[in-house]
Amino acid sequence: MAEASAPAIATRQPRFVILRWLKLRPGAAHALPVIAFLLIGFAAPLAWVIMFSFMPERSFSLLNEPTLDNYVTIFSGTTYRSFLWSLGLAAVTVILLALICYPIAYGLTRVFGRWSTLLTLLFTIPLFVSENVRLYGWILFFIKNGVMLGTLKSLFGYEGETWLFTEGMIVLGMVYVYMPFMLFPMTLGVSMVPNETRDAAFDLGASRWQVFKEVDLPLAMPGIVIGFLLSFVLAVGALVEAKVLGGQRVIPIVHEIELAFTYAQNWPLGAALAVLLMLVVGTLVMLVLRRFDLDTILGRR
């Protein structure tokens, strides 16, 4: 009897376990395909990069004995300069974007009225053109005998030197390219401030500055924080601006990663740089998110 029932249990048991598990946790079961997709498409390449960062320099296989040499190379050299340039340029870009975008966002929400849609469209259209093409457009604008200097020369006889290939041009390019990523979340944030709240503050005797500081800014904060995060993370990864408009006067960290993976053919070093960049940016983002909890500022808790 016992001998006869044993195989039946053995064949039925796994199916039973899966069914019970599915029944008990339908949410998890339905999330399985997405989890599998994320594991294969997102986690696996990241894990690959992380593992490569521990391989000996200039190796192309993960079948070597792990080593910390790449990290030692990075910390003992001058690569920190590239990190500082990337973080510095991104910080300057984000600050400039905040200063430029807040008035525009305010205008789009409260001042421009029916023109807002058209203006929003004008800010959106450049996104449909490749970044490279837009930046080469700036080259043609600023180049000697180009749109700006050529016009000044022909109209006023003024012969100036090009402004291209300077740090200022890199910032200009980054502000130009990443503006929509600050502007639109910020506009959303500003539009979340109820007019009634502002009116009430004015009625209670608040000055314009007090309304801005106590009402506008805190209530628009979700959009502002998202704009900051989005544009900062993108700007830290900026490469083309420094290459095209900066003429490589500055070597950002992403350029170092590219060099390691191409000309130097040092995948492990490139991987180690990428891991460090992820850690630095991840840490900064986590610090901001700890200070401004998105769920709280979005009013979900």
Binding site: E65, F165, G247, T262, Y263, Q265
Partner: protein
């Protein structure tokens, strides 16, 4: 119960297990692929061979699916093979030394049928007559590929600012003259930039370097990048030469300045120095592409057929003037091919001085201490950042 404790020791074992698992998967995939590659060809190449002008007639005549991926540096292409893409590619098109000195010893490529291809070499320009060194292995027995595009590649000047004769005489010292600070650009092409920095520093790039030479190279790299107005791609360099923002740039030659010359800017010219630190006092460096058949276990039968296809006079001319950049081809030694080139086309590729420039150029070779020199150059670029 299964327990796993990863240590340095068993890391290798576990890695090997995973590798075996992947290899098993790969083998299964391969079996499937082996069934049919007769209508498929994959080419890893410099730009031009991937153009529709070159590939479409071949696709039409063979009915094959031809995929070509273009990259712009040799080590990246070769490392794609090393990193496991041997069973993906059928042809690889890189500069001369890689086939003979690297890919053949590492068994990344296989020989082509010598009897079938030697007659093509016989019709090429005199410098490429068989047995052509870069197309053969060390023993001289195995033919490793065919030669087609080539050209001198040192630097480019705007002859309205510096005459050709003066640039040829001054040669690499243009970069040693501090009065030229801010007047030049550097075309980003890191392996070639390394060669040029060696030439500016006054020694042959293609040998092992002494500590004193490395020190001189380091100083030169910092100075050259500090004094450069701009570092960028060839399109930017040509544009800045035409606009007058810069007067000359390294690295460059027929390949890089041909788009500007094709636009009518014949004052933009590739220059080969009259003298320099290479053996025999040669001042320039030249490249010759060798296209080889990848040692793919299931190589497409169309691979060698394609090599023959691009040898025809018509197709050679098309390859020389495929989209992007324009270059001389070895098949110009065949009158049937040469007559297809118009006067304007010959002007674009500087045919008037090609022979003498090639004679003054050393051939692109492997730099034994390249990784070290590249790292020094990258550090120099970083250190003058924002300076």
């Amino acid at each position: 119960m299964f327990t796993s404790k990863l240590s340095r020791r068993n890391f290798m074992q576990q890695s090997a297990l995973w590798a075996a698992a992947f290899a098993a998967g790969g083998t299964l995939g391969l079996r499937k692929a082996m069934a049919d590659r007769s209508k498929e060809l994959n080419i890893l190449c410099w730009e031009g061979y991937n153009s529709a002008q070159v590939l479409d007639p071949f696709r039409k005549s063979t009915g094959a699916t031809v995929k070509a991926e273009s990259l712009t540096n040799d080590p990246t292409m070769i490392n794609r093979l090393r990193a496991g893409e041997m069973n993906v590619w059928d042809l690889i098109n890189v500069n001369n030394p890689w086939a003979r000195k690297v890919m053949w010893p590492e068994k990344l490529i296989k020989p082509i049928e010598r009897a079938r291809f030697e007659p093509y070499f016989a019709k090429m320009l005199p410098a490429f007559k068989p047995p052509y060194r870069w197309a053969m292995d060390d023993s001289g027995e195995n033919m490793l590929g065919i030669a087609q595009r080539f050209g001198p590649y040192s630097f480019v000047v705007n002859t309205d600012k510096i005459s050709r004769a003066s640039a040829e005489d001054q040669g690499w010292d243009l970069w040693n003259d501090n009065a030229n600070a801010g007047k030049y650009g550097v075309q980003e092409s890191d392996d070639w930039n390394v060669f040029d920095l060696c030439c500016i520093a006054g020694f042959d790039p293609f040998k092992e370097h002494t500590d004193a030479e490395v020190a001189r190279y380091t100083e030169t790299a910092k100075r050259v990048f500090k004094n450069a107005k701009v570092v960028g791609d060839l399109a930017t360099m040509n544009q800045l030469l035409v606009s007058g923002d810069i007067d000359f740039y390294l690295t460059g030659g027929t390949y890089s300045c041909s788009p500007a010359r094709a636009d009518g800017a014949l004052n933009i010219r590739g220059i080969t120095p009259n003298k320099g630190p290479m053996p025999g006092g040669k001042g320039g460096i030249a490249w010759i592409e060798i296209t080889s058949v990848v040692n793919n276990p299931n190589v497409s039968p169309l691979a060698e057929h394609f090599l023959e296809y691009v040898q025809t006079p018509d197709m050679s001319h098309t390859v020389a003037f495929a989209e992007g950049t324009f270059n001389p081809v070895t098949q110009m030694g065949d009158p049937e091919c040469f007559k297809l080139f118009t006067k304007e086309e010959l002007e674009i590729i500087q045919w008037d001085s090609l022979e003498e420039e090639m004679a003054r150029s050393a051939e692109y070779d492997i730099v034994p201490d390249y990784p070290k020199l590249l790292d020094i150059m990258t550090a120099a670029k970083r250190e003058v950042s924002g300076g």
